[in-house]
């Protein structure tokens, strides 16, 4: 887990690194997520035969679960800030039990009309070096 820390706008610099944090989405976690997120009928996430019929070598991790890991990376790193936008592209499947390294980089900071805002690039990468998710995020100061 990332350390949850309040960061003031002036303490944040373009180029600041967020993470890395490693998360391992186990089959148990996928099953629990499917139940909590109401996607248990999408059986290719945990049924090998359904995965094969859907063109997958094996069951995969739901993209939104990995996106949730990235959201947590940001909200933990920027405690006191509010996630305003999360844009993600699912580029490769994440596999059950395979560690994912999550990180981000601050790309821009603005303070127009007293509304401090930070923009970041975010990445989730598997241990083979494949970028499972790439994206961007925007956070604003909650105060």
């Amino acid at each position: 887990m990332a350390e949850r820390a309040t960061r003031l706008f002036d303490e944040i610099e373009i180029g600041d690194e967020i993470g890395p944090v490693t998360r391992v989405p186990t089959t148990e976690m996928v099953l629990r997520y499917a139940e909590a997120a109401g996607i248990h009928e999408l059986r290719f996430f945990f049924d090998p035969e359904q995965a094969r019929l859907n063109g997958l070598e094996r069951p995969i991790v739901p993209g939104p679960l990995t996106a949730g890991f990235l959201a947590q990376l940001l909200t933990d790193h920027f405690a006191g800030w509010r996630l305003r936008a999360l844009h993600t592209t699912f580029r490769a499947p994440a596999l059950h039990g395979e560690p994912l390294q999550l990180w981000g980089t601050v790309t821009e900071k603005t303070d127009h009309d007293g509304a401090p805002t930070v923009h970041c690039d975010i990445v989730a990468e598997n241990q083979r070096g494949d970028r499972v998710i790439v994206g961007t995020a925007t956070l604003s100061w909650r105060g």
Binding site: R4, H40, L42, G68
Partner: protein, 151 residues
């Protein structure tokens, strides 16, 4: 590949109205392993200025539901995958509130990619609270293709 009446594009449908409980939020937060006190502890949430526990950002996908809607008929034997999502968080989602989700197909088209023919379906969903205020905007991309192309 995509068998969709063009008249369905842009036609908004109501997915449903959902009451969010603190248990719903706790279950979701624990499922993704995010134990932020703002999601679990009403006192911590109130100390941060919220009326009750708030939901983790991607909880909005639980409200959107399982299979992406509106449904799009596909030719038999095709497979589809979620290709990405853009979420704008306008307001927090709280326990004790009721939310209405509506969605539409924004775009649906076919193209030929490096791995062969693909169908692209883009949906947009809006989540509003009981006062009609928009709390979340969601845009999701689905790719349709032959399952013979293994990933």
């Amino acid at each position: 590949m995509i068998q969709l009446d063009p008249a369905q594009i842009g036609k908004e449908v109501t997915i449903g109205t959902f009451s969010v409980t603190a248990d719903d939020i706790r279950n979701f937060a624990e499922a993704i392993g995010d134990l932020n006190p703002l999601y679990l502890d009403a006192e911590a949430a109130r100390a941060a200025g919220y009326p009750n526990v708030i939901a983790p950002p991607t909880f909005c996908l639980r409200l959107r539901g399982g299979p992406m809607q509106p449904a799009v008929p596909l030719a038999p034997g095709l497979a589809s995958l979620h290709a990405g999502q853009d979420i704008e968080f306008v307001e927090e989602i709280y326990a004790g509130q009721t939310y209405t989700v509506s969605a539409k197909i924004a775009e649906a088209y076919e193209k030929t990619g490096r791995s062969g023919p693909l169908g692209i379906i883009v949906r947009e969903a809006t989540i509003k609270d009981s006062s009609g205020k928009t709390v979340t905007l969601l845009r999701e991309r689905q790719i349709v293709r032959s399952p013979e192309r293994k990933i």
